[in-house]
Symmetry: D2
Subunit: 342 residues, 4 copies
């Protein structure tokens, strides 16, 4: 089988696994108070050029979104997001489970524009009835988005400005952050993301960890007793070393950025290959996810050839949208095999 269906179908990058093996026998304190979690946090503070950052390691994306959003919002507040945002669509109502509404805006290739956010906020406060409505209390964006697209520094700066004007935090979901950081066209790096957001996370699960996401509060704004909040959400690992060791390794010798760069290189080859073979793109993204419009016959061909893809949605009578994703684990051999069968 050729695995292009997503970026989490393999285990962990060998170097990550090795770090786990090497540290396995050490007796360490629990719940994130261990040496490796601490050292990983130090390295992330350096990589983000954000010495005051508070860093917490969680297990998965939905959990991270739920914990961060619930911890930062007042009970009467909701979170602004694109209507395609992960929290709005594919988290089984995890945000609502914790009591908050997702206030959606129409997306543009997965993104929301500062102007639209500002309009929503202006309209809200202009409404004489707004005390009967959910207060917009945060802006959530994903970077890369669910469509693999990226915000530019200018766009992020404008979003940050709106948030500052209305004194609400800007939260960046970086489940696939490494692929965004490595994109050719991006002008956003870790320090600029740390500077422009109030909280963001560095995704591990989809970047070559067994699991794990690193939440970074960038403005000395980690909610009080955050460990207790994490515990209350059932999200505190007893063996915090598990995420600590992995992120310590990610941020040693630039592994995190390298894995991103590798996937981007593979994605470029994928695009070239697909173009060469005459595939129609629904959306060609600068990161590791590519969206195609395929016919029933083409789908059948892929199936027969053992190419795994992500079913996205029916486009019309003729076409279906599918996703092909490269990742930290995509090899040149995978690419060659794909070229062979297409």
């Amino acid at each position: 089988m050729l695995h292009f269906e997503n970026d989490y179908n393999k285990g962990a990058h060998p170097a990550i696994l090795e770090a786990l093996v090497e540290t396995n026998g050490e007796g360490l304190s629990g719940y994130g108070t261990d040496f490796y979690s601490s050292r990983a946090a130090t390295k992330i503070r350096e990589a983000t050029n954000c010495p005051q950052a508070d860093i917490t390691f969680l297990t998965g994306g939905t959990q991270t979104n739920q914990v961060v959003i619930d911890a930062m919002l007042a009970s009467y507040e909701g979170v602004i997001a694109a209507d395609t945002g992960h929290i709005a669509t594919h988290e089984a109502g995890a945000i609502e489970f914790s009591g908050h509404k997702v206030l959606t805006l129409p997306h543009q290739e997965g993104k929301i524009a500062a102007a639209a956010v500002r309009q929503l906020l202006e309209d809200f406060y202009a409404d004489g009835n707004h005390e009967h409505m959910v207060f917009p209390g945060m802006v959530y964006i994903s970077h890369p988005t669910e469509y693999g697209t990226l915000y530019s520094k200018q766009e992020l700066l404008e979003l940050a400005k709106v948030c500052r004007d209305y004194q609400i935090p800007l939260f960046l979901d970086g489940a696939r952050l490494g692929y965004g950081l490595a994109a050719r066209s991006t002008d956003l790096d870790l320090p600029s993301i740390a500077a422009l957001t109030d909280v963001f996370y560095i995704g591990g699960t989809k970047m070559g960890a067994l699991m794990g996401e690193a939440v970074v509060f960038t403005k000395s704004n980690q909610p009080k007793h955050f460990t207790t909040i994490v515990k209350q959400h059932g999200a505190l690992l007893a063996k915090g070393r598990l995420t600590g060791v992995q992120f310590d390794r990610f941020f040693t010798d630039d592994l995190y950025l390298q894995l991103g760069a590798h996937a981007i290189e593979m994605a470029e080859k994928l695009i070239a290959l697909l173009e060469e073979k005459g595939y129609r793109f629904y959306l060609k993204s600068p990161t590791n996810q590519q969206f195609l419009l395929v016919t029933a016959e083409e789908l059948e061909k892929l199936d027969r050839a053992g190419v795994c893809y992500g079913f996205w949605e029916k486009y019309d009578e003729t076409y279906t949208i599918i996703r092909l994703a490269t990742s930290w684990s995509t090899s040149q051999a995978d690419m060659d095999a794909l070229a062979q069968v297409l």
Copy 2:
């Protein structure tokens, strides 16, 4: 001042108040177990031609929506509603507070069509990823809607059919039900509403009660231990008689329907008057709420004349949408005074 801003600016209908005064000295049991609550329930069972109905009296609309929806949904389910539905807009996130998402559909003059609901349900179950999404577990409609519009029997029948096909309940918010029942053009009466919905409520607050809404579970489907659920939501009145006596009176000598009819009569006069005076309608509804497009000068004139209206929203640079509402308490004298000043 001429009160056309809403339908809850006066106290209670004199007959309602009188019933409270008359029964005031009686020693009655609490929490809705009193004689009057019981008799009111019996009368509502008769009026709805629904002998198996379970009836509970609550205090207000948002509370009723929250309690009913939370009681009927599984934790992983959300409620389908028009994007203009009260639960989606003006309840400060009361539905999300209880853990559920509101799944919105674009409205047509406040309504949603069966076809759109069916499409949403079909799409949901067709999505291979739907286990990661909020399950659509109920359909919520308001009748009259927030725009004063009404469902026809055919439309309600079709909605009921979709709900039956997908085995999810149909919930009708009847905060202004009396005005809907009395509309000239409606072919829906209490028995047909009881027959076609799984649960609905008969609004009291906006129909001439001090407060109170009567929830009617029509299909022997009242959630188990509903009293405890009501209590847990902080919604159980110690003096349940307060709602019991009022609804007992509403359903004596057809008072409820008469009050609706009176408001409709006044609304027709209001429409005629506004048309005569050359006002532009944004939406002319068959019930007690009328929506106008007015200029800044017209607004100023209304303000000066002491006409209270409901500000709805800015329409464009020139026009503002306002609401004028008649009610059970609008008098001919009010209408004459309004005619005078317009």
Copy 3:
């Protein structure tokens, strides 16, 4: 029937009802922004000698406890209460429904002592593991308690001191506050309660209102956007006038205190009568609730005589604990009739 089962079996005090009738025809703004709510708040500020107090009117006791506690606690905090406290026993989990644990202490005749609260707080912070536990974030007391007992000024002062030391609010549930204020033995009046607590409520439902409780935030500490929080809990009355008018009347010509004094006078007669007839007291309280130990024969005698009482609990094989309560509505005729039948 002779109604001694509770203090909410009658409607409203005639003066309250009259105030509702008199103001019934006035067109007033909704959601608590009306003239009477405003005037009632002013009068309560005067009566409590607390000019900075923020006052909000809610509907019932459980609702008030839920809204106040949820609004004041952080998500990771619970509320300390007596194990007999209303929130711990008879509110169907309304506090847990809003996400908070009730941290119980053993009661002494319904009360908790400052020393026990301090011990709990000391133990909590001494526990190296407390980040994995629910933070004690508030102290809840009822005054009178569920057993009709009262805190002395000294006791309240000590509780206030503990709360100040640990910077957590002291919340006094005054569902029956008027009976406490009128007790012969009390040295607590409204100003001292306002001075010593951070938030408390003045109960209306059990004191002669149709319904309604007045929440008083005493230290300029009303949670931000409290109206929205109230709405989100389904607790905002459209016709806020209903509670406003009633509390405006309560605080006109000292009606509230007079109704309390009347019930206390009746309670003293009740105690004298019961003693004279040889009844055994389980707990003789200084307020309107008295608890008796009665045999099966005595119960049967009361039943035959049409005396309504509150069943409390089985005491042992021989005795049952029952409650007899006087109230604002207990008349001399009721007392005479009771004397007759005992």
Copy 4:
């Protein structure tokens, strides 16, 4: 350092880690639908002699307790537990966060007796007021308990009988189940636990996994759409293989039971050593946790010697309770070194 402070200070058992390494390169489907999760479930069905069991892998104990309890309880129900139960004390209110009260009973060495549970249930339903109270909807026990003690088959049978009588599920928290199964004195094995409980979990985190717990619904009673509920709680791992592979290995060649047996053997040596050295036991348990009463001098001696122990609580002026725990990772060398320093 000598690690006796808990049973989760090391990484994973080498065989577990090896299984992860071996399967690391395989492309597998996500969210628990992979081959290894499926095979692990099959093996657990065999080991529990429970062919109809539904098995789900979660990440940690608090998360598992929250998800299972919230999924099985109705909104108005709470869970009965010992006052020392993990859910009652050290989960930061995770159960209340999901809306449910923990109804505590006094413990006996960490356990609750069937008779006490029955009494609580009888009292509840005998209370005329119980519709205003939290319904007891489940019984939670831990086995081994937080004190390392165990239920006998007879005790579990009696608890199961009470639960059946009242039609509420019996939930066994097996965070340390392997140590219980391996205890000399136990007459409970996996099949008998599966037969007597409605749901239980097989702890991995404290038994030699990196993380992970296997939830077993034993009576074809897994809540509908359980995957969605897990997702909504932020508890669904993208790489479900991570828990699948580990449990697949646990249940290959009886590894799980062997690791338990090893820890018990070490615990017996620990007890013998401590007795020999004259230590006072607060509680000598049949499993891997032992509780000592130590003086300040003894504590200092342990500290100096680099013996890590778990601080439990102050016992009195003289003594402190500490916990020494063996585990799957305790070696004979550890024991020898401890003997040396004591």
